[in-house]
Amino acid sequence: MIKKFVALLLLAGLGLMFVGLLLGFTPDQVLNTTASYYADHSVEDTGAANIVTAVIVTYRGLDTLGEVTVLFLTATIVSLILTQPRPSGTPIIGVAEKKALSSGELLQTGTRLLVPLVLLFGVYVFVNGHLTPGGGFQGGAILASALLLLLLSDPTKRFNHRLISRVESISGILYVVIGVLGLVLAGGFLDNRILPLGAFGTLFSAGAIPVIYTLIGLKVGAEFSSMMVTLSESRDR
């Protein structure tokens, strides 16, 4: 009884706080200093048509490297916990049982039709990250969802772990190498002006941004894929 009362009191206090915030809220009429700097200078600084990408990949590039690292650690921990060696002699339970459970004609045919298109769309999203909304993280997640579709249509399918981890580590290393190259050749770590900025609004423009976003897309896609593949395979134990 007293517990419920305290919880209600806390909720009421929280609600009062939010109502106060809501009543005192007035939308900004002008951009603040940082935002207006980005809006005014991102085109001449980076050559990217999408300001969000310019901020994520160059102005706040170090944060993005940190984000990718966090995702990498998560994927590593998932596979570390779930891929324990199977005791020798134990029969693989589940495979036969899975074979009996077919995923159905609709899903299988749909997968065959959709997977190439989804992969193509994912690549499009991260290659055009400097021109249209989207980028490495979104594109990588779309790539991983194509893999998820494959896993759903055939749960016994096995993927090449070595290939996935190779793609993941090579793109990670290249990402850092490009960052250091920016330190040597241009203004600072992860500066995109190590390549010519090119004509504004074309595919090969904005310096190293398309290269960096392609690497991030491959890395994120490989990380999500390895997480899902490990989770689905660990059911065999």
């Binding site: 909304p133 989207g134 993280f137 979104q138 997640a141 998820l148 899902m228 989770l231 660990s234 059911r235």
Partner: protein, 84 residues
Amino acid sequence: MSTVMFVMSLLLACAMIASAYVALRGQSLSMAVLAAGAVSLFASVMFVLLAAPDVAMTEAAIGSGLTTFLFFFVMGRVKGGKDD
């Protein structure tokens, strides 16, 4: 913000709250996971209305796509719960 946009975002907000309620109070676990995915889906449409397409794409792909299936994978692994 025009009236149409306002009405649409109001409807979306109601749908988000309704699916969040289903996710919390629903009968079965898989229903709750699906409802949580629906919250993300409505949120991603809301982000498009608020002119943030980049965030909307992330929310749709990761929040409502991958996370939902990650939950199902994990539910397949932790079998034997009481109120499954």
